[in-house]
């Protein structure tokens, strides 16, 4: 059996390259793979496109990634958190791109990529500023926007437990975008609180089958928003 477990944080993320599009899981803090983001920061890649619902949470490494100048474009639904002065300054200076996507559309665009579909029609955002430049299609008298797939070169996700095949389960509202992003990337890297032996996960309970997971790194439990000293991130 392939070994999807990476003992080091560096080994988990090292394939990420300059210019990559990276899907990062989480809704606010729960489910955000902060340790993997630490590892990504250590790589100091440039020109990254980051897809994340809430990019600017005060304590999140994504804010630090932006400060480090690693990010050339953000795709998100909540882009304007009060704390995100760095992002705002870069954006106002034209140094970082921004694509605002309604949250349900954001999730569905990634699922569409994962499901091998070419697009979908949604009633969300019809007639709004976020419909500008988008094709509309009328079906049975209702107007819809045609939305296109959103695929990642990589996904960084967070889960509760993994087995050696990379089958994953999540905890509570930390599930959120993670199973969808796992489907939607060419290479999916999970940080997990614990790993368990093969057959320890009930196949009926598995939320993300291992076919969607390329690598995982075990982090143990950590308190969200507290300083960490994990793996090579060392801060």
């Amino acid at each position: 059996m392939q070994n999807k477990k990476s003992d080091t944080l560096e080994g988990a993320v090292s394939q990420i390259h300059d210019g990559a599009t990276i899907l990062i899981g989480g809704f606010a803090d729960p489910g955000t793979p902060e340790i993997l983001i630490d590892g990504l920061r250590d790589l100091a890649r440039r020109d990254l496109t980051i897809v994340i619902n809430n990019p600017g949470m005060r304590d999140s490494g994504v804010a630090r990634l932006i400060e480090d100048g690693c990010v050339s474009k953000l795709i998100c639904s909540f882009q304007w958190p009060r704390e995100s002065e760095t992002f705002m300054a870069l954006h106002d200076a034209g140094q970082i791109g921004l694509e605002i996507v309604p949250q349900g559309t954001l999730a569905e665009r990634m699922r569409t990529a994962g499901a091998g579909l070419g697009g979908f029609l949604t009633p969300t955002a019809v007639g709004t500023a976020l419909a500008d430049g988008k094709q509309t299609v009328t079906v049975d008298g209702t107007e819809y926007l045609l939305e296109t797939p959103l695929r990642g070169d990589f996904a960084l996700i967070k889960a509760f437990r993994a087995d050696p095949r990379g089958n994953l389960i999540y905890r509570r509202t930390a599930r959120n975008f993670n199973p969808i992003m796992a489907m939607a990337a060419d290479f999916t890297i999970a940080e997990v609180q614990e790993d368990v032996p093969i057959d320890a996960l009930d196949p009926e309970e598995i939320v993300t089958p291992g076919v969607f997971v390329d690598r995982y790194h075990v982090t143990g439990w950590y308190e969200i928003g507290k300083p960490r000293n994990a793996g090579s991130a060392g801060h």
Binding site: A28, W80, P81, G127, I180, I224
Partner: protein
Amino acid sequence: MSEQTNLLTRQQIAARAAQDMEDGWLVNLGIGMPTMIPAFIPSGCDVMFHSENGLIGMGPPPAEGEADQDLISAGKELVTMVSGGAYVHHTDSFAIARGGRLDCAVLGAFQVAANGDLCNWRLPNQTSGSVGGAMDIAAGSKRVFVMMTHTARDGAAKIVAERTYPLTAMKVVTKIFTDMAVISVTPNGFVLDEVAPGLTADDVQAVTDAPLNMDAVGTIDVAA
């Protein structure tokens, strides 16, 4: 206009909106004032709350020492789950919202137009706003209730004939609960259902930039 003291408190608005929640409903609550509604749902009225971040059956904040950092609301506050709840991922959560399984969404608003247009995601003078799940939820919910102060802080009307703010969703608002009134949005425009105790229909009309039908105006029950 009557005395400022005749305006309902936030709790009173929430209590009034709670009266319209029906047994068996699944309801999504926007950030801010709407999150005060659950405390006013009478026991025996079974309303389940949906949170866009994949939580069906959102319960009250956790008791001291029982918080779980992985269990939060869409407003990013620590919450609990009620009996019989379930967790789903984000696309299933929005399938629920967009697919018409929400009996009601209660949202805040900057402006509501007479045709039901909802504006709540961006101010006109901002270059950008945080849209979150508002557009999906507003577009997909069976009913959209708005809960807000009747006027903006500068006194400007928020209930208007035609919107001037950036649109969130077209023709979706069905009812408005403010600190002055309860107003229904109908095919014929706004209908003033109830006014706060101590206010008159004319008081409400005076701070509303659209005609209100005043054929049958009651008084908001704040005793509940």
